[in-house]
Amino acid sequence: MDMVNANWLDANMCAAFGAILYKVERKTNTVNLVNLQKGVETILSKNGFLSHYGREKKLDTYGTTIEYKMFKRQEDQSFASYVEKNLVGKGIPKMSQGLRKKFFESMFEIFSNAASHSRTKMGIFSCGQFFPRMNHLDFSVTDLGVGIQQNVNEYTRQVLTAEQAINWAMEGNNTTKVGQIPGGLGLKILREFIIMNQGKIQIVSDKGYWELSDGKVYMKAFSEPFPGTTVNIEINTADTNSYCLSSEIRSEDVF
């Protein structure tokens, strides 16, 4: 692949980029990335992306990358270790304890969602990047599964466009789950957190694009489909909200 015209690549987007290249490779192709511009090559070497394409990994001196990695659907625990390893003790010290916990849990919710809904057999890809000057931390999770539109339309028996289907999945307690284990809360919790944090969620699935930023939803349709789903969250790391509940909950009142 000729990268000569790529003068910038958000490093977290390696999740989506790597997923597409993985799919290409699965069709007995060999992928080589050529003519990488220096800045792009440096960041993609630091986060381990280029290690998948025959290059050496470079030291991440400032600790701003969150490694590019691929997981199987069942590897929730490995994903948890990955998040722990990549966030703790790195250059992301500004986050309060409460924000960090919320962020961890948001990433787990996204992973769980991909694992339980995508039906993918080709793994789940993730990558992140901290932008210290902008106080942003971006993190992306991509799967090559059936996409949100197919799941939602099968469940609701409607014919929603891809972006309408994403919107349905992000609203209220909507869930396409059936069976013993309930669902429908993970994305709602994520959405509430992102609004409070003044961050951003971007979702691309099939031809649909859905974004939540400044508390508002934007949607559009792409001309060509993405072969699965990618979710990107952008966290405002300068957030000073405490994320601790002011009211006490008694354990005997839970059930």
Binding site: Q74, D76, Q77, F79, A80, S81, E84, G98, K101, F104, E105, F108, E109, F111, S112, N113, A115, S116, N173, T175, K177, V178, G179, Q180, I181, P182, G183, G184, L185, G186, I189, Y243, C244, L245, E248, I249, S251, E252, D253, V254, F255
Partner: protein, 123 residues
């Protein structure tokens, strides 16, 4: 009836990251066996660092597909949870109650529980 048994989430999962639905399922299975036997369960979250709704849905939410609210209230209690985690659990419980209000889902969940029971007996 004997005193309550303590089920330790950390011991079942093997660490403090309670994020996987599969791990939640293991916790659920222990609780469900005890409740079916008429035992009371005290579920301890001591040393748990991270919790997700996916884990709690599998561990506790799905109990509402098999047991009545009264049975759960009488038989299950939780301890060693932070206020934030209690709030998450409360939302999971409310969502589960809502989820199983749909008779189709409740019926399907019951059927799956019965099928699992048959499988266990045949194995």
């Amino acid at each position: 009836m004997n005193g309550p048994i303590t089920v330790r989430v950390f011991a079942i999962v093997g660490n403090g990251f309670c994020v996987a639905s599969d791990d939640g399922q293991k916790v659920h299975d222990q609780i469900a066996i005890a409740l079916r036997d008429g035992k009371k369960v005290n579920l301890s979250f001591l040393n748990v660092e991270s919790l997700t709704s996916a884990f709690l849905n599998a561990a506790i939410g799905q109990l509402y597909g098999e047991f009545s609210e009264e049975q759960i209230k009488a038989g299950l209690s939780v301890k060693d949870m932070s206020n934030d985690d209690l709030a998450l659990l409360k939302r999971v419980v409310e969502t589960a109650k809502q989820y199983f209000k749909d008779p189709k889902r409740f019926k399907k969940a019951r059927e799956e529980v019965l099928e699992d029971g048959d499988d266990n007996q045949n194995s």
